[in-house]
Symmetry: D2
């Protein structure tokens, strides 16, 4: 059984027809799992639904506490890419003995051309096979939390 915690990010941005802009509604996670015909046993919980640039220390603590206290030892966290590395660091400081994989998307799933479905399949697979630790899974790759940064110019996660 894998626990999935949803925090928002580009993954879950949707288009608000009335305002003509981007917004957050319900998570697309269950629909994505259905579309991917996933048969991985998961339990999904939405912790927040925000842009990761607006994530506060209190928000981050909430993510850490949920990862500590849940029964599952294998966890996927969906997260905006801009501060994914900061949350990964907080998780590494606060949670031991669990395999935690953070993932996200560069393009909202609600846009047809999303990398989200690819990343979700990837993150769930890494979460099943990697040893305890905190990882970032993007672009089909995985990185230990303290070996990666997001390049803001190119939008790509790269090793440091």
């Amino acid at each position: 059984m894998i626990r999935i915690f949803v925090t928002g990010g580009t993954f879950d941005k949707t288009y608000d027809e009335i305002r003509g802009g981007l917004s957050f509604g319900d998570t697309h996670l269950p629909e994505m799992l259905r579309l991917g015909r996933s048969r991985v046993e998961v339990s999904v919980r939405t912790l927040m639904m925000i842009d990761s640039l607006e994530m506060t220390e209190a928000d981050r603590e909430l993510v850490v506490r949920n990862c500590q206290q849940c029964d599952e030892s294998r966890i996927v966290v969906t997260h905006g890419t801009d501060t994914m590395v900061e949350t990964a660091a907080a998780l590494a400081r606060g949670v031991a003995g669990k395999t935690i994989v953070l993932t996200g998307a560069m393009i909202p799933y609600a846009f047809g051309s999303s990398d989200g479905l690819f990343n979700l399949g990837s993150a769930l697979s890494f979460a099943q096979t990697l040893p305890p630790g905190v990882y970032i899974a993007m672009n089909g790759q995985h990185f230990a939390w303290d070996t990666v940064r997001k390049n803001r110019q190119t939008g790509v996660f790269e090793p440091i």
Copy 2:
């Protein structure tokens, strides 16, 4: 570096406008990797482009030989689901010391609602992390080649 061998299957079926039926053209693999923003180093080679129900022993031998002889020790094979288990068995008999992951799709990628992108992200991730052996990766799960069968009624891969 991961080697990807393409053999066809539902993954790559496309709709032939003139004949009004399904057919095979070029593989969608490069487009799918681009859509998924994959940054995994891969080298893609199409071995055949057929429905796996029509795969002969000679075709299967070609897949085995290519997996034996390529330089890479981590390999993904895209394959029709109907005889994926048979090819996995042939690979297990014929190739040693490599991590080989077979994957496919229940719905063609060319149909918007495909599980192919999810499975491709999953298969590439399993190929990076599993020890040598032959595996089937479908529905976000992975199975050792001799522990799984396709249920023809439900279309689902299940443990035996």
Copy 3:
């Protein structure tokens, strides 16, 4: 109020995951109208759900009778492209004083890349503005029923 009669055709072909081939299920018309945010008042009725190559004279008579007997004087018929012209001729012989627009698709709607949504918007618009008569609306164009044929080589409707 526009009456829509559904007869099947490529428009409504879907992919059967279990058999691995094309098949017909329920019509996608209501979903397409929702996606197109259509606010045209319509009443949809499925007459049959078949490939137009298999349409018999009895089937064709059923279409004619329904167009005769319905209250609406503006009608859209979704139809396979291969024998659309034959059904149009039968309608021209059998129904007077109504605007009947036949339309279809070269690619199933269930495939992301469909011309069906474009053709549906087009057919509903022609049905609102053309004088009584029987027309074929494909590729954004409209043709009086006896001035057009389908070019089987190119898949295109062209004037004769």
Copy 4:
């Protein structure tokens, strides 16, 4: 031959991966016409690429002048929905003897679930069949320019 003038609007909004927001790039019109397998003879020209809330009187004059001066007597203008009615009024004041159809979308085409393809098929069809005048074509319906308003609460064009 139909002239298409592109002015931007939701129709053409795209997702900027680096900034994580909506933006305008090149128009999707040619791609949409290809996807719809349109065979209507058109000539496409981009006049501007802006949100219609930011359209100035000078911008509006530019649209009017282009509609006056082009050779074609049947014109489609793609436009943001928020001020579509204002531009329609300017066109009605400034251009005589031509059939001008304004259309747009509630959801960007780049999002899979767009009404844009439906509206484009509809607008091109109305442009071929309506008498000279200025019209708004949205949701499969058409309205003379001075008989419609956008309901900002529901996002729907409704008769006045």
